[in-house]
């Protein structure tokens, strides 16, 4: 794998740090007084998800991480692994629970997710920004209520719980923003 000098650092660059692939979020060049220059780098560790701030000496090099984002459709889970397929090549990949993490609640069959591969193995699964899921349970709301009140919790078919307006009923399909877990709209079946 290529190595990168701090001069090449920018948001989105994937590097290895403490044996873990990381994504650079922000990079700031600092040159204190008349002294040596440094790079203050905000980094997300791709396996643990931890965000930390590291200081590099400017000009220092680090190993790049062999990390690749692929777009794969979610197929099914066998209870242990989550199976995805490349819709062009039909190649299948299985991600474990650790890679899927909390995003398991946004996995909808046939939805295309972003699977991040490190050395060919899935390390993270990112669902599409918006998913459509059926409400399996929510308290009956009042007729004529409009959005804007506090809303009520609704349990979706995947087990996710989101707040929905009072007029939304069990059995309806709703659109949810997976980045913040917020209700967007009802979907006409």
């Amino acid at each position: 794998m290529a190595s990168y000098s701090t001069n090449e650092f920018k948001g989105g660059l994937k590097i290895m740090l403490d044996g873990e692939p990381c994504n650079i979020l922000e990079n700031e060049y600092v040159k204190p007084g008349k002294g040596q220059a440094f790079n203050r780098v905000k980094i997300r560790k791709l396996i643990s998800g931890k965000v930390l701030e590291k200081t590099f000496r400017s000009g220092e090099s680090v190993e790049g991480a062999d990390v690749l984002d692929t777009e794969l459709a979610y197929l099914y889970t066998d209870g242990e692994f989550y199976h995805f397929m490349n819709n062009d090549t039909f190649e299948q990949i299985a991600a474990d629970e650790k890679a899927v993490g909390e995003n398991v609640k946004w996995l909808v069959e046939n939805d295309v997710c972003t699977i991040t591969l490190w050395n060919g193995s899935p390390i993270t699964v990112t669902p599409p920004n918006f998913v459509e899921l059926e409400i399996v349970e929510t308290d009956p709301g009042l007729k004529g209520d409009t959005a804007g009140t506090g809303g009520k919790p609704a349990t979706l078919s995947t087990g996710a719980v989101v707040r929905v307006p009072l007029f939304v009923q069990t059995g309806e399909v709703i659109r949810v923003d997976t980045r913040n877990g917020e209700y967007v709209s009802r979907v006409q079946k």
Binding site: Y29, V30, K31, P32, Q36, R40
Partner: protein, 318 residues
């Protein structure tokens, strides 16, 4: 497309005008000195651009350096009896671009014969009050600000104490912790002190460790410190000034020491500015001088968060 708005360009013109008015009233002469020079800076952490000159009088190819600061040339004018002078010019440093850095930038540099660095700080304060409408500045020594903000004395601290303090403050180095006192002091200063000082009025920090003296005189009362000051305002390092070193022999030794350090780090030694050194030998009047980043001044004036907002064309678009 320019990265600065037309409004920012107008404000730059206005700022340059205000600066020139200030010095005209003060009776300080505007000068111009070469941007290309045979000699250059020897400082380990300043890297000059160089270019080839094919038309020298001797007929051989020469290397010329783009100046990193007009200091040497301006001091030659002072040696020649110019009296108080200032210059608004471009300076060039071969280094990365960042929020507060562009490799080519506008510098305001001025010298006051007969002033020491404390008198010059008053001068700088007046200029800032004029162009940025700041309140009267605060002044604190390097030692006192370290004790106040980080509870340690930078003049007596040991390397291991400094390393422990850095770790406790949360400094997470990608590789080993720096093992050099000055580098750590500079890093801690910029990460943990700079953001806290000069927030509602400019802050002058003076009396830097003598190891960070560059072209400043060593302080008479406390030889552990140099007569150097820096100005900080709203988290931005704005200016660097000295009670200027006048001893040609001492200056040559500092340049040579820089070059030794460069070689120890695998960097090429740089040609010392012999014109400057011989002018110093002829005699530099007692004076204080300061260099101020004009782009940063403009950033403060218009509340810009990135230097690109005040440059017509930053290096990426140049």
């Amino acid at each position: 497309m320019p990265s600065a708005s037309v409004k920012a360009l107008k404000q730059r013109a206005e700022l340059l005008h205000l600066i020139r008015c200030f010095f005209a009233e003060e009776g300080v002469l505007e000068v111009e000195t070469p941007l290309l020079s045979h000699g250059t800076v020897t400082d380990v952490h300043i890297d000059a651009f160089s270019t080839a000159f094919h038309f020298s009088e001797q007929g051989n190819q020469e290397t010329l350096y783009l100046q990193t600061s007009p200091e040497y040339a301006m001091k030659r004018l002072l040696c020649a009896g110019s009296g108080a002078i200032y210059q608004l010019c471009k300076a060039f440093r071969h280094e990365g671009a960042g929020r507060y850095h562009n490799p080519e930038f506008t510098l305001l540099e001025w010298y006051r014969p007969g002033f020491d660095h404390h008198q010059l700080m008053v001068d700088v304060d007046h200029l800032l009050q004029r162009v940025l409408q700041t309140k009267s500045a605060e002044k604190i020594s390097y030692q006192a600000v370290f004790i106040r903000e980080l509870d340690m004395d930078p003049l007596t601290v040991t390397l291991s104490q400094l390393q422990q303090r850095a770790e406790a403050l949360g400094l997470d180095m990608a590789s080993a912790m720096p093992d050099d006192i000055d580098t750590l002091l500079q890093l801690l200063f910029s990460l943990y002190i700079e953001p806290k000082i000069g927030q509602d009025k400019p802050c002058f920090v003076y009396g830097f460790p003598v190891s960070q003296a560059a072209l400043a005189q060593v302080n008479r009362e406390d030889p552990r410190t140099a007569d150097r000051f820096e100005v900080y305002y709203k988290g931005i390092e704005l200016a660097n000034g000295f009670n200027e070193l006048r001893d040609a022999h001492e200056q040559r030794i500092r340049f040579m020491r820089d070059n030794q350090l460069r070689q120890a780090q695998g960097l090429p030694p740089m040609p010392m500015d012999e014109h400057f050194l011989s002018a110093l030998e002829a005699g530099l009047p007692a004076c204080a001088g300061v260099a101020m980043g004009v782009d940063r001044l403009l950033m403060l004036q218009i509340n810009a968060s990135h230097i690109e907002e005040v440059l017509a064309f930053p290096v990426s678009r140049a």
